[in-house]
Symmetry: none
Subunit: 194 residues, 4 copies
Amino acid sequence: MAKSIDETKLERIKQATIEMVVTKGYGGASVSSIAKKAQVADGYLYRHFPSKKALVQFLYGSHIDQFRQMVYEIMESNNSFDTIIFEFNKAIYEMTNENPSKAMFINMLMNDYTFLMSKDMRLRIPESFDKLLERGQKSGEVDPNLSLEEFTSVFPAISIEYASSRVKKIFSEEKLTEEDARKVTNLCMKALRP
Amino acid sequence: MAKSIDETKLERIKQATIEMVVTKGYGGASVSSIAKKAQVADGYLYRHFPSKKALVQFLYGSHIDQFRQMVYEIMESNNSFDTIIFEFNKAIYEMTNENPSKAMFINMLMNDYTFLMSKDMRLRIPESFDKLLERGQKSGEVDPNLSLEEFTSVFPAISIEYASSRVKKIFSEEKLTEEDARKVTNLCMKALRP
Amino acid sequence: MAKSIDETKLERIKQATIEMVVTKGYGGASVSSIAKKAQVADGYLYRHFPSKKALVQFLYGSHIDQFRQMVYEIMESNNSFDTIIFEFNKAIYEMTNENPSKAMFINMLMNDYTFLMSKDMRLRIPESFDKLLERGQKSGEVDPNLSLEEFTSVFPAISIEYASSRVKKIFSEEKLTEEDARKVTNLCMKALRP
Amino acid sequence: MAKSIDETKLERIKQATIEMVVTKGYGGASVSSIAKKAQVADGYLYRHFPSKKALVQFLYGSHIDQFRQMVYEIMESNNSFDTIIFEFNKAIYEMTNENPSKAMFINMLMNDYTFLMSKDMRLRIPESFDKLLERGQKSGEVDPNLSLEEFTSVFPAISIEYASSRVKKIFSEEKLTEEDARKVTNLCMKALRP
DNA sequence: TATGAATGAGACTTCATTCAT
DNA sequence: CATGAATGAAGTCTCATTCAT
């Protein structure tokens, strides 16, 4: 009977939000500017999210979860610890190439103390990395004395930092390649080994 | 005498700004709330900075510079590469313990794409790390094929990430110790070696 | 058959509007909330009324007219002045019991200077009360020197005020009874007598 | 040192609010229109009240209290019941003449179910009228069987209704006089007597 | 006919900044 | 020099209304 929800509009809002937040910061990304970039009406956003904050929180949460799921899936289908690290790096570098804003968005919010993950997520993320650490320690590729805290300071910290400096174009403006993933994997493996 | 009163006021403004920005984000840290916390009048801030943005930029810049100078000074007075890494870690962990907000502030802004360093700073920072890298490669402690991009993804990235996760109290609420500095140094040294 | 479905929809809209306006005020009664309460689509209302304001005005007008007609009919079928007053009181108290929102709605709008009666109505109402006053003065039950202004300040003002304080549950939460109608009639008769 | 608060501005806001609410209704009285009428900046209001609703509530409350205090003071300084009624009528008619908007404002909000008095006020008002009723019953001027509910439906209901119909200019556009107060007092006294 | 997705004007509110004191 | 009252631009958000389906 009535018009159905235009999913592309919603998608446009989401992408526009990410881009505006990355470019102008949370405060600088006004709802008006987001709506304009997404080519929807100013009030449109409020038909799907109760507030601008909720929208950004949702995007943060869903991206973090996508990220976490990626780790999970790669772990499920790979036996070798170093392959997991490599596949993960490859995956996030592909994502970063495809949608640099998305990568910047996650990085920015992860370091913003006013955007906290949901409790649920705060618990599940370390859990995934804990399993990964165990696997590495079992296979003898990771120092058995390494704590989870030390582990996550190496992985995914190095991987993310490498991608982040690339999108910031500090050292290079090239796209991230499989070679980059290999190099970073190598750094991680060395740091972690017994 | 009168001037010293002034100085504490200015200092209070600076500290209040850092704390408010970390707690509430840049947008949430209103000039009024900063002034209130610093116990000065709203308009006082404008006697020293032309705008709120300029104040935050200044604080970011001066902290980054303090950081850079630390690297420089440690490099000047130490010959051994691993000692430099260790001393640096010790120094930033001490700073983090003393003033966690300051550490959070730097970390937050470094990952906020709307707060860019001055061009001057953007050039000088890699320069310092380049010199450090060279020293490590000369002494044979660092892989001679490592690029500056790879190097900075390890150091100071690991060091900072470790401190950051501690301030966020993700894995532990303990203060950072010399032992932590040693552990992190070890991780870095392993990652960098040939 | 199809039409009768329509009629209940319209009826539901009307009742929902009255209840929402009374509960939330004119501004707080959003078209959406009215439609939701009436279980019709948001846009449905516009098939019968050109605007929200027009809907409320219509309801106000039709209730006022119903009120006026009640006076008229009671006057037609009763010779005695005091019986007219009593029957009127009884009638509006019954209506108030049946549908308190309706009573509150009329009372609210009659005291809201932004909802004016139609010119037509503004003229016809005093006319009805003028006839009633005449009748009372002819029968000697009402002071011959009383102006219409004084008369309406007594009747129906006292009657309405009594019902209003009851729906507001200021002094009592009981339903209005015939005994209440009698008491109020007595107060009016005493006030009006020569 | 600094500028002091301009009390006339605050006064202008208050009066402008009353006038706009009376003319356009609560919803129609936009903060902008109020500020414009008061010749202050749009944001000024928020330096003294947390919201538009709070401002209107405050004005309602303070006017109701002024009203209540008037009753109290008149009762304190008069022994005779009928003098109290008369003095009260005179006082509110003078107030109505001086500031008709104020009278309309109170009347409007008293009949708006979304603007409730504070609990404190809801209790104190009937108390004052209860004392007045007692006095009238002691002096023999008021029917000893009259309930407070009946009493208040006569006084101050008649007095207020008379003033209200005058400000609405239904029957007359004249100012309210002492003669009006006398007439209304007479109506009340007749209604109340045994 | 009835729906409800979408619009956008305009509401309320915040707050960086100014400047009289 | 320092204050904080006042401003008003700009932000977030609501909601009456429209119209494709």
